[in-house]
Subunit: 231 residues, 2 copies
């Protein structure tokens, strides 16, 4: 029962590479002896705390390359990720905090819906370019998830407990040296925590735990029901 | 004869990730239909031109992570790379220009020695932590390579032609959006140039050319004769 290796995925729905990392780990959880724990954190808090001026959007050349690199990752992983036209503006004017808090509230109340909720937020932001920043966005997401009492869940999402939980996840990543997203902690059988940055470290994670990297495993992709439901 | 896909590897012996990318491509050249063209360029020129303040050494968290990430890559690829104690100081006080120019001179005069010369420079810098910055370092390298007339080669290395060739390689990468090293251009059969950044893009390059990524291929590693010869 407890022989699976715990892997924490720290992610933010504002980060397209978090989506790639998330889908990768969800697939590898089916073939590797790992148990992925989803840890919503606050990406803007990471960038601020580390003064990471080297994040892709801060450098024109990296921004152009990021667009190209995401297209390639999209084809490779079969994940319909693309940058909204105004992504840079979005990042500097909107906050993912409410969306991240809703995920944490959901994790407390209906944990079985967390995976699909996160996926739905990425699909809204990076496939349909609608976003997840306003109350109406979050209400629509909860409607898609058939949440019975969305108002109560939104209230929980703005509670001190949930706000603290988001801060705690963010701090835990920062304490291990985090400077970007996705950020991954592999809890090795010897009791160590091995931190990894990025969506492209699955070959190295596999090497660490003695399992082979076998590519994008597209046949193990979750069915994106939300893709057909959303217009 | 010409059916192999040309792949340009822009690299600097001052960049440890360039070494990983180099060994990866050298091995995949044996199993994929690619022909790797080695293109020494000037990493410091790239960082300066793009004002890339996000390079790993500019951010404390990235610097720590880079050390950990390189150790993992070293084990995974079987490449004996480790950072010299004073690497950051080295990067800001020394220049790789003379070493890079010597590689270009060698490429003109004795191209069959280029691969081993580059490897030898990385081994000096990132295995034995000796360096390749002074004339004596370069003389030792030429001695290891059994170059017959090292003085003439050093003269060629400081000629206008060679200096220009280094600038041209650097500009060519910059023109395609380069902001770091290693930088790779895949010349697709349809006549396009696809740029890739980093030592970790072999899965995506494979996907682009329709070939599978099969891990580090350690059984295809070149014998590092220089490792045993150097003390």
């Amino acid at each position: 029962m407890c022989s699976r290796i715990a892997v924490d995925l720290f992610f933010d729905v504002f980060s397209p590479y978090s989506w790639i990392g998330f889908e990768g780990l969800m697939r590898y959880q089916k073939v590797w002896p790992i148990s992925v724990r989803l840890r919503p954190f606050y990406f803007a808090g990471i960038i601020k705390a580390t003064k990471n001026n080297g994040a892709p959007l801060m450098l024109a050349e990296k921004e152009s390359y990021m667009d190209l690199d995401l297209k390639r990752n999209s084809t490779y992983w079969g994940v319909p990720v693309s940058l909204p036209m105004n992504f840079k503006n979005l990042v500097f004017t909107k906050s993912s905090a409410n969306a991240q808090r809703l995920l944490i509230a959901l994790q407390k109340e209906q944990p079985s819906l967390l995976e699909e909720a996160a996926r739905l937020m990425w699909i809204r932001t990076f496939t349909h370019h609608i976003g997840v920043f306003h109350k109406e966005d979050l209400m629509e997401i909860m409607s898609d998830l058939e949440i019975e009492n969305p108002t109560a869940l939104l209230e929980l999402a703005s509670s001190h407990d949930v706000k603290d939980a988001l801060k705690i996840n963010t701090s835990e990543a920062l304490d291990m040296g985090c400077f970007g997203a996705p950020w991954i902690h592999v809890h090795t059988p010897s009791g160590k925590i091995e931190p990894f940055f990025g969506s492209d470290r699955l070959p190295l994670i596999g090497h660490l735990i003695g399992e082979p990297y076998e590519g994008p495993l597209n046949h193990l992709a979750e069915h994106h029901s939300s893709l057909t439901e959303l217009k």
